[in-house]
Symmetry: C2
DNA sequence: CCTTGACACGTTACGCTATAACATATCGAT
DNA sequence: ATCGATATGTTATAGCGTAACGTGTCAAGG
C-alpha cells in the first residue's frame, strides 16, 4: 500500500492532532452517510473519544467517558457502540490489549498492522498489506481460507526507543 | 522457514496424533532438561492437556481438566502453569481466543502464525517467519522496534471449506 | 547437619472484560 | 397511521485474569 495524500500521519510522528482527528471524523461521517449507517450520538461520541489520543482504550474506559457525557454507565452501552464502529470499519479491536482504537483509514480497504509502544502506550496503525500477503501465502500452502486476521506487535516507538538508550 | 524432518505435520492434515504428541512432548522435555527448567507435575500435565487436541483451550478449561487430575481448582493453578509454558516457549497464547495452545516447535526460534478454523475450532501453527519479516519491514519504516508480535487469522480449514461449499 | 534463599504451590479474594436477555423507544418506509 | 426493523435502557451474570500472602520444597553453602 502506498501513501496517499489523504493518509493521516503515523501516530508516532509529531503532527497536528486536531486536524488529524477532524480529517478522520469527516471521512467517517462521509462514509457513514454514503452507506446508510446511522452514526447516532453515542456512536459518534464513542468515535470521538477513541480519536482523542493515539492509544487504545478499554471498553470500560470508554464507558466512563460516555458516562461523563450523560450516557448510561452500563457495559452494553459502550460495547454496542464499539461493536458498531468495529463492524463498519470505523474502529479496530486490539486483541493483545482487550481494547479499541479508531480506524485511521475509514472507508479504505486495508489490513491494519498495529504497533503498540510499551513505553508510552501509543498505538500506530501501520500499513499491513504486505504482511497480509505473506500471511495469505502461508495460509494458502496449508489450504486454509482466511476470513480475518489480527496483526499486532509490541515494542518501542521511536521516541521511547531514544529514551531507553 | 523450510520444513525440517522433525517438524510435526500441520494440524489440519490427517496424522498420527499420538506420535505427534509424543514427539513434541519429548522435545519439550529435552529442552526443559537442557535449560534447567523444572517441568513439574502440574506443568507437564498442563502441556499434555494442551497437546491432546489441535485446539486452543481457555485457562478455565485447562483448570477443569487439572482439577479432574487432582490439582486444586483455583485459577492461579492453571495460570501459573500456562504462564510458565508460554514464558519458556512450550506454549503459545492465542489472543483472539483468550486461550492457549501447545507449541509445536519447542526449542526452535520461530514466529508462529496461527490459523484458526471457525468451522471446527482446529488451530494450526503455520510458519510465520516470512510474515514476521514483512512486519519488521513495516515497523522499521515507522522507526518502531518490535519486541513481540501476534499474528493470527480466522477462517476455514481445508476440511471445513470443503463442507461449506 | 542445618540454615538460608530461591522457587513452586495452596488459598482467598477481587477486579476487569464481555454478553445474555428482555423491555422500551425511535426511525423510516409503506 | 401502522408496522417492522433498528437502536437503546436496564438487570443480571458469565468468563478471563491477577494481587497478595502463606506454606512447602529443594539445593547450595556455611
Amino acid at each position: 500500500m502506498t501513501t496517499r495524500p489523504t493518509d493521516p500521519p503515523l501516530a508516532f510522528a509529531r503532527h497536528d492532532h486536531s486536524a488529524c482527528t477532524g480529517n478522520v471524523l469527516a471521512r467517517a461521517e462521509a462514509m457513514a452517510a454514503g452507506n446508510g449507517l446511522r452514526l447516532t450520538p453515542v456512536r459518534r461520541r464513542t468515535l470521538e473519544i477513541l480519536l482523542e489520543s493515539h492509544k487504545a482504550l478499554g471498553a470500560y474506559e470508554v464507558l466512563d467517558r460516555l458516562a461523563g457525557d450523560g450516557f448510561a454507565r452500563q457495559p452494553p452501552v459502550a460495547y454496542r457502540a464499539l461493536d458498531f464502529l468495529v463492524d463498519h470499519g470505523l474502529a479496530h479491536r486490539i486483541r493483545r490489549l482487550n481494547a479499541f482504537c479508531a480506524c485511521m483509514h475509514p472507508g479504505t480497504a486495508h489490513v491494519p498492522a498495529f504497533l503498540i509502544c510499551e513505553g508510552c502506550d501509543a498505538l500506530a496503525e501501520a500499513p499491513g498489506d504486505d504482511v497480509a500477503r505473506a500471511m495469505q501465502a502461508a495460509a494458502a500452502s496449508a489450504g486454509f481460507d482466511i476470513d480475518r486476521m489480527s496483526i499486532e506487535a509490541t515494542g518501542l516507538c521511536p521516541a521511547c526507543r531514544e529514551g531507553a538508550r
